[in-house]
């Protein structure tokens, strides 16, 4: 087994950090304009709740489904490796 290299992970984290900073810095540097904001208590929080619920549940379901799909792929690969090992062992036995 190859030793694990930290280089790609560190590079990926640095690239991501730069990307997030690009998103955040101009936004944080803006003037504090709170014209559109009111307190949660005075706002109509009941309106359109099903849409909000749908967005948050769909996002979570999608991420969990993707993680499940990857774990299934991993399981299939493991059984495929096992099958290959058996086939090669049988062939070696015949030879």
């Amino acid at each position: 087994m190859k030793p694990f290299s930290l280089k790609p992970l560190v590079t990926l984290l640095v690239v991501s950090a730069i990307f997030v900073s690009t998103a955040a810095i101009p936004a944080l540097a803006q003037q504090d304009i709170s014209v559109q904001v009111t307190n949660a208590e005075s706002g109509d929080t009941e309106t359109n709740l099903p849409y909000l619920f749908a967005v948050y549940s769909i996002t979570w379901i999608a991420f969990f489904a993707y993680l499940y799909y990857m774990s299934q792929r991993q399981r299939n690969l493991r059984s495929e490796v096992e099958e290959l090992r058996q086939i090669l062992a049988e062939k070696e036995g015949k030879d």
Binding site: A27, V37, D44, A54, V55, T59, Y66, L77, K91
Partner: protein
């Protein structure tokens, strides 16, 4: 346990903790928009998903350039994995956008520049994945896909600047270099935290997917060798 596994598990714990924190902040801490009402809280996930999708397609670009330049499969694995996660994120971007548009605009979809270019972005990278799925094994499919990965990225700045370039009903950009929309300071901080959280989630998914892709490639290679040795196709699932 290897350092890689410790780091991956650590990243998962960090991501899960950040997710719980941002969910609490989104629903309990941040004020409600007095025009859009509570549905405005969709924005935190919608904008974060968009930004991380752009990051994913940027990594596809980097991986594609790296593959065409160096010709090593690790760049191809990176590009393919990022494209797959990018498509998932763009799908979520479109769905969350549609669910925000209905209560705010009164329609599920309208053919305005931001929505249309976003749909095009999704189609480009779905085409990328289809090209990979239907191309024969070997380097040819990876090379064609790398070219598509580079050309496809042209649509990312078009999507981002579409609200500046054309007259549109979509809200102004509130994240990144072209930011001009106004947000309360607490909303801005929360949006930054949500973008950071989704970035950590993306890095976690990408590490997992690249490692899986590498294993798939290795199994394919071993199968090829075994087939050559036996002169018969091996019937595997």
């Amino acid at each position: 346990m290897s350092i890689g596994m410790v780091l991956k598990n650590g990243l998962f714990v960090v991501c899960a903790t950040m997710m719980l924190v941002i969910l609490y902040l989104i629903f309990m801490w941040v004020p409600t928009d007095n025009i859009q009402g509570t549905v405005q809280r969709i924005m935190y996930f919608h904008v974060s998903v968009a930004w991380v999708a752009f990051l994913a397609f940027f990594i596809v670009l980097v991986g594609s350039v790296g593959y065409l330049w160096k010709g090593t499969s690790k760049w191809d694995h990176l590009a393919y994995s990022a494209a797959e996660i990018g498509v998932l994120l763009t799908t979520l971007l479109l769905i969350t956008g549609i669910l925000w548009a209905k209560p705010i605009w009164g329609v599920w979809w309208t053919w305005e520049p931001r929505l249309t270019t976003s749909l095009m972005l999704w189609l480009i990278y779905v085409a990328y994945l289809m090209l990979r799925a239907y191309s024969p094994p070997g380097n040819q499919g990876a090379r064609y896909a790398a070219v598509l990965g580079i050309i496809g990225f042209i649509d990312v700045p078009i999507v981002y600047y579409s609200v500046k370039l054309w007259r549109t009903v979509h809200p102004q950009v509130i994240v990144g270099p072209a930011a001009s929309g106004s947000l309360d300071s607490s909303m801005r901080i929360l949006l930054f935290l949500t973008v950071a959280t989704f970035t950590v989630l993306f890095v976690y998914l990408l590490i997992d997917r690249v490692s899986l892709r590498k294993s798939e490639d290795e199994v394919e290679w071993v199968r090829g060798i075994a087939e050559q040795a036996s002169h018969l196709p091996l019937s595997l699932r």
